[in-house]
Symmetry: C2
Subunit: 365 residues, 2 copies
């Protein structure tokens, strides 16, 4: 059984901030970046929190990330813009680009920003949640390095390319939608491989393009898009992933499809580049431009109540509202802290040693 | 074997126009509405072309559609607006609302319109294709009456709620994405029922909330969202469908979820109304606000070529580009005409009799 050590969100956020500062990131940017990882930990999305710090550190170490990027609007027209992230940390570029989208929304009713020359940006929903603070509906997308095969293909061409959007309730917590356009995250296949368990049919193909239930086959084959098979709609998952790839990267001048540079050190770097870095896409719409904010929030409350009261299927207690599990995790973890798995604690201890940033590996608050 | 009669697109479009005029629709609106149905026939989406004329006629006959709607912006702020369709034909309200989104995009870089008090609007991609004519990226969504169960639910709460978006190539035809957020269209279950064949696992549940392969069970149960099961990501299809429901209808003040009024005469009318009509959502973004139009189109060409050259899976010749089948159909049908199945020809003959509009049931060009 894996062991866990509990830390407060503040402790981990502070540690992360200081690690980023060590690599030359200005304090304000380091705080912003650490906040993105912290939100993932708080919301129970463990794969995208401090567990990823190791990879960001690797990227700094090999010089792939610019700690002091000059993030610039390179082209714009009122409500829309293209932003160049100057090869900065995605966790710094993305909050700034999202900010630009929201500033445009405040001025023009909506704001839409396609971003090139950036890197991994953490959880997609972080940016949609930020828009809620200003009574805006926020969209967030990013492309990622290739792990997914297009339907009827036998090789990886697309990332897990997530889409996020959020809607505020008045009395209820917001509806938070955040989904990868692949059938599952790559990490779930790795977990099955480590556990030695076969995969469900429909998750992956092998290197010959045949469906497989052997996790190890994913490395030569790839993940299926959402829908798994033609019969169950995998052309739709492929379309959604393509949409994200184009809005984030073909539009901004980033690398797209099979040319997206990888996030992790051990992943293969494509032998061709067709743009700069990876790409994101952010949208923000002022609710007030469509409807009185309170009226809209009340309607969302009503929507939530109606869907919560759906007659449940056998074996299930209730239909969930998108964002429910993450909201519950945030409530618990804000109060009781964040359980970090031993292997990640070891990573953090090594990072502390390398960067000479204090770290209490028995837990901190 | 069903028999088909071939008509030219122009002949069917003209007939449809005159039928709408018969019901009091002004000529210009009738032309616009007929064009939407015609595009579906040309693009091979037979379920959404003249085959639907019968239902529109039914709706006019029972007075559910206002032939001369006063379509109005009821609230707006620069790039965003809410439009009230005054209970008009969706095929009239939607082209006008999409026009408003594109006018806003020309002025503000992008335009976003949520529409209430409208009806069935035809194929979602019609509106995205219109945006291409102005070098814009066009988004289109609509909600529809309930046929889909949320994951872990045992009753219908959502429509098949499609999402469309399109991207122009320079030398290549555009990438056209148009997908319902359910595992399949309701019509595919009806076809299996008529043919007496069982359904694939993962399409529907029965009235008790259990998975079923018996098509007849769909009437008491419902369609699954894209993803089919929790293991294959049905929570994602549910989230996408919810997103469409909220952007089209909670935002605009239309009916949402289980309260959406039905399109067809034989469908049950919900006993409660929470808004006006059904809802649409349109977006348009000026490509030029992000990147030089020709540069973007060349990149799309490159994207298309790379994806077309994906190594194919066994048993498949090639990976398709979204919109390929519809583009091929349009090429063929523009030239050789549109094959209309006998039962639909009979419907058209009856409509002709009722409306006293000339109709050549042996084919026309």
């Amino acid at each position: 059984m894996p062991q866990y050590v509990t830390f407060s969100a503040e402790y981990l956020r502070d540690f992360t901030t200081r690690v980023f500062i060590h690599f030359g990131v200005p304090e304000q940017d380091a705080v912003a970046a650490a906040d993105v990882l912290s939100k993932a930990d708080l919301r129970g999305i463990d794969s995208h929190g401090v567990a990823r710090l190791r990879t960001y550190v690797d990227m700094f170490t090999i010089g792939r990330i610019n700690p002091r990027p000059d993030i610039k609007i390179v082209r714009d027209k009122k409500s829309v813009a293209t932003v160049d992230g100057d090869s900065g940390l995605g966790l710094v570029v993305a909050p700034r680009a999202n900010e630009i989208a929201m500033e445009k929304a405040a001025q023009h009713g909506s704001g839409w920003v396609s971003v090139c020359n950036t890197n991994h940006y953490g959880i997609a929903s972080y940016y949609s949640l930020k828009a809620l603070e200003r009574d805006m509906i926020g969209w967030s997308m990013t492309n990622t390095s290739k792990t997914v095969v297009p339907l009827w293909g036998a090789e990886r061409r697309l990332g897990t390319n997530p889409i996020a959007i959020a809607f505020p309730g008045l009395k209820n917590p917001p509806i938070v939608i955040d989904l990868s356009t692949s059938v599952v995250a790559f990490g779930k296949v790795e977990i099955a491989e480590r556990a030695g368990t076969p995969l469900p049919e429909g998750w992956i193909i092998d290197g010959n393009g045949n469906m497989s239930t052997n996790p190890a086959d994913v490395y030569k084959g790839g993940l299926m898009p959402l829908g798994s098979t033609r019969e169950l709609g995998a052309h739709k998952g492929y379309c959604l992933s393509a949409m994200v790839d184009i809005l984030t990267s073909v539009l901004s001048g980033a690398n797209w499809g099979p040319f997206v540079p990888p996030f992790a050190l051990f992943e293969e770097v494509p032998d061709q580049s067709v743009g700069k870095g990876i790409g994101h896409f952010f949208g923000a719409m002022e609710i007030d431009g469509f409807e009185e904010v309170e009226v809209f929030k009340k309607r969302i409350d009503h929507w939530i109540e109606v869907f919560r009261n759906t007659k449940p299927a056998p074996g299930h207690q209730a239909v969930l509202i998108p964002g429910d599990p993450e909201h519950d995790a945030e409530k618990t973890r804000s109060k009781y802290g964040i359980p970090v798995i031993e292997s990640v604690v070891n990573d953090l201890r090594e990072i502390a040693k390398m960067t000479k940033v204090d770290f209490q590996s028995t837990g901190g608050s």
